[in-house]
Symmetry: C2
Subunit: 631 residues, 2 copies
């Protein structure tokens, strides 16, 4: 059971209420934390549209005088946008627009925290989106919700939302109030919403069913979707026709009690999510362990991973068992030893395997060396040699049997494991073993309004061309990940010290990569970037992975990596998108470049059209201008 | 004949030359002003791609030692990008890329002003575009040209260029070197280039034909296209196989002489273009005549228009002749009289029509009033009354028969003629005449890399949401203009002083407009914005127009107006784009909002698909946030 102290906001709408008291009092009384009230009554619009009337005649919100100041913070204002905003007649249209404007100004005057527009369920004209987006610029402190109804046999709801927010240039003041009908559409059309800024979930009382005792409960399909949405920290709103409505037992309070019950009963967070608390959808710059020295706290966090070191120990054990059991000791080298967790595990593996070993712990960080030397003295003894040196430039006194490293980033090679191991493999015996022996990067197109908003909020080029490490939450993967490239160690193509031959224009060419992968999306969607993962083979079948389909259970050392797109790409249902990805190098740095090119929608015969080159997003991070990893 | 003192730069390429002297000396000798030389010879690439070779082996540009310093400013460097940039093999691809990088660095070292990439004629991979765009970031002071061959039966050349510059994010360092084959494609595919940054036109000697005496000349089709390109200030390059080549009489010098001849013989500029010298593709903010007082020099320029005032005089004459010839004098009012050109013309029309008139000259600009009073005293006498007042707030002593104004902007209503005349029509007799009696705004989708570059160079929102007055040159209209809306005067819907009733939320609602217009484009294109024009009916069939198809010959008072798009829209051949346009008002200002939504390509049966809403460009200038005209 999840933390029951988490607060959950559940509001009430009484659709026949005409003043704050009429909804505010019963809401409070039945345990609701806020209320929704339309700022105008429906008949006002009829008055307004009479040819002789002016706005002054129509807009007389006398019922909305707030009888207590407290209502201002309690009431969310419903905006009547009317069906005539897209009238052919200029004056009718403009009267409706002026009426919206007056409601917005009225809401600002009252100090309401939020206003709610209701998206038309039929086809959109362009004036409704324009008026909604214009209203956002009039709202200084308030937010706007767009109420969108999700129901069976309507797969267009997301498209209407997408049009409105695209026309508004992705204004962060606009969020979604998702109203769930009694029957939900296919799960494909629900998943789209997990990448959107869903602020509120609206549940009409008619979307509840009665349990055996007559009290309101939700169908299983609704419960599953709500639990997913609860992870996004949504609030709720119960919408009833009137105070006297009695569809279910238990009165108006029973609905909020049931929602709070569902909230309490949601599944426990798994260990990775517990570890990630506070990091969901938070952008972190990837580590630069080669250029910077990691801090003690960073080591401390990663050393606690319950899975990673267990798998390394298994891999070392298996590798040792595969080496001939000779009289001479087996030479192990841990390169990038940090504060010693791999040294500890390697020694344990040797003990389990009953092998005599000599172990070199090579580390360039002078601060970590202090810890290593202390542990050698207190724990490890003479079989461990602590070497303070950058592995790329070390002259080893002998060659080793097993070269152990943990230099992987979220994208596998993005913390320069390939370059480091090119240097380190100089002191690996010809028949020696590298742990890890290979790693593969994976990509998938993804949607996330939240992450797009974060990277564009800086209004510069740099932030939209930088990969970030992110624990995904309000993210929707648009297709399954595909592998882009693999690095294998030792790389016997690398002779001598090529990895260090900085003067050569051939330098590091063998560690460049390029791949293009085509993905097909099932529903209409807006692609905001590329999700990146890795799988690594430590030794034979000992693997670690952060690929969603093969993720090592409970391993928390790596979150996925997010490569943004500057401009979101609209992908129609059943269309393709080709992602091009490069890993590039010069003498001082390694960087990624990427772009995405949409293809046409699938033809009737299922044949895929070629990508439409003119609609390519620009190349990101040309020449590493915005982001790179220093050698 | 055009100004023969204009300088024209014509260069020479000798395709078999291997060092600067070999091309530089003959180029100078035969009257060329620069030369193109490949920085590497073809066989270098073969050396490089041998598995055992390194870049050092391959890149030995000994032949490129500049024998004289002067060659650095004379030589343009050809870059060998090779056909292997899109090889499947990582190392081959990277060797080719490193070779390009060395050439670019070499060109920078030599201080060459430009380098030339040659676009592949077959389908593009993504590495060629990436390497070209990466090179731009390595070129500190030099520019790059992309050599694109235009020839019969290849309609894809523009699409290849568009892909390359789109992937590069529209980098202004990259321009086009357009090579014309012996036969040109359909004019549709030539016109595309007029909106592009064509810096150089390359003419292989094989694209020339021999005249009756055996000297090189160009076909008529080439001449027509070149004359269009010459307006864009291009330079030329003659490409010959070798020094000894003798396809035509007259030697190598004959080609540049012929080009210079064509340049001298190009048609005289018409009066509008002469007037516009220095203003082509230059962004001007539209006037704000209501908020600002025009300067004397501004009046001076516009008073010189040879056509506008002639048409106004015709209109006033016709209107006077249509009024009953009674004993009492006809009352004319010129509102916004400026320094008096319309007063003068109206008096002339009255004289021609032999009508006695009393004329009120109403002007709000206190500086212009000085001139009006002086002219009344020295030229016009007692029949003219000079009134210093804003026409919207004037209390006229009597009503007039004919209300004359020249308040039109490039988009018709964009200098607030509707609002001004709403105020002024209070003192027009019920059967009185307004000159102009109506005006209509027109829009067309357009492409212009130059103008897009200008508005985005500021890297802010304001400049991409502001309309500009521009004399178009490097602009390609993607479809014929269509009317969006019309204003007619007097507007009898406007009762009393509604136009001035600033307190009313209904204020000025009747002057708001909305229209959506769909255009079909013939070729693939990149839409950068919307071109705006107007047609005005002064009186009955007396018209003035800046619509390209109906432009009043010789009238120079108005250039077109350009509404930018933030992000260029790619439009496939035979597809549609729907432009939505609004004219909106509040109590203090009037502004435009606009957006464009591409549709699908035409189906086989010619049926047009609906617009793809998710690909809409964002609404521009929401709530007038970036640009507006003050009331």
């Amino acid at each position: 059971m999840a933390d029951s102290t988490a607060t959950l906001s559940v509001g009430l709408e009484l659709r026949n209420a005409t003043n704050p008291d009429a909804v505010g009092s019963p809401a409070t009384q039945h345990g609701y934390s806020y209320a929704l009230l339309n700022l105008l009554q429906d008949d006002v619009q009829a008055t307004l549209l009479h040819p002789d009337s002016t706005l002054q005649d129509a807009f007389q919100p006398a019922d909305l005088q707030m009888t207590e100041n407290t209502w201002a913070g309690f009431i969310v204002g419903g905006i009547t946008a009317g069906g005539e905003l897209d009238s052919e007649d200029d004056v009718t249209r403009q009267k409706c627009e002026a009426l919206v404007r007056q409601q917005i100004q009225w809401a600002a005057h009252l100090g309401l925290t939020s206003v709610v527009f209701t998206a038309p369920e039929k086809e959109l004209g362009l004036n409704f989106p324009r008026v909604v987006n214009r209203s956002l610029s009039l709202l200084a402190y308030s937010h706007a919700w767009l109420r969108v109804v999700v129901k069976k046999d309507d797969n267009e709801a997301w498209k209407r939302w997408n049009t409105i927010r695209t026309l508004g240039g992705h204004n962060p003041k606009l969020s979604v109030a998702l109203e769930l009908g009694p029957d939900l559409p296919d799960e494909l059309f629900l998943r789209q919403w997990t990448a959107e800024p869903v602020r509120t979930v609206i549940l009409p009382t008619t979307s509840f069913i009665a349990n055996t005792k007559g009290f309101p409960v939700l169908k299983k399909s609704h419960q599953v979707f709500l639990q997913k949405l609860m992870e996004l920290n949504v609030q709720f709103l119960i919408s009833a026709a009137s105070l006297d409505e009695s569809l279910h037992k238990g009165g108006l309070g029973a609905y909020q009690q049931y929602i709070r019950h569902l909230h309490r009963m949601r599944p426990e967070l798994d260990i990775v999510d517990q570890f990630a608390t506070g990091y969901h959808d938070y952008l972190q710059s990837p580590l630069q362990p080669l250029m910077d020295n990691l801090e003690s706290a960073t080591y401390e966090v990663f050393e606690k991973d319950p899975i990673k070191y267990q798998e390394y120990e298994r891999a070392v054990y298996r590798a040792l068992m595969d080496r001939p059991d000779t009289a001479v000791e087996t030479v192990l080298m841990v390169v990038g030893a940090g504060r010693g967790p791999l040294v500890q595990r390697a020694l344990q593996a040797a003990e389990n395997a009953k092998r005599r070993v000599k172990l070199y712990a090579v580390e360039k960080n002078p601060n970590a060396i202090v810890t290593l030397r202390a542990r050698k003295q207190s724990e490890w003894g003479e079989s461990v040699k602590v070497v303070h040196c950058d592995m790329r430039f070390w002259t080893a006194p002998e060659k080793c049997d097993i070269l152990i490293s943990e230099l992987l980033g979220s994208f596998g090679d993005n913390e320069l494991s390939p370059e480091c191991l090119d240097g380190a493999q100089r002191f690996l015996k010809d028949d020696g073993i590298s742990i890890p022996e290979s790693y593969t990067a994976f990509i998938a197109p993804m949607s996330s309004t939240k992450l797009h908003g974060e990277v564009t909020s800086y209004k510069d080029l740099e932030h939209v061309e930088t990969p970030y490490v992110v624990k995904f939450r309000a993210v929707h993967e648009l297709a399954d990940p595909q592998p882009v490239w693999t690095f294998t160690h030792p790389d016997r193509r690398v002779g001598g010290v090529v990895g260090i031959d900085l003067g050569s224009p051939n330098f590091n060419i063998h560690n460049t990569r390029y791949a293009a992968r085509t993905f097909v999306t099932a529903t209409d969607s807006l692609m905001h970037g590329v999700a990146g993962y890795f799988e690594a083979t430590l030794y034979k079948d000992v693997m670690i992975s952060i690929h969603p389909k093969t993720h090592s259970p409970g391993m928390f050392s790596w979150f996925p990596i997010f490569f943004p797109l500057k401009t979101p790409l609209h992908l129609p249902a059943n269309s393709s998108v080709t992602i091009h990805f490069w890993r590039l190098c010069d003498a001082r740095k390694v960087w990624y470049e990427w772009t995405a090119i949409p293809g046409s929608a699938k033809g009737a015969e299922g044949s895929q059209q070629p990508p439409i080159m003119g609609t390519a997003s620009a190349l990101h991070n040309i020449d590493g201008r915005s982001s790179w990893i220093g050698l």
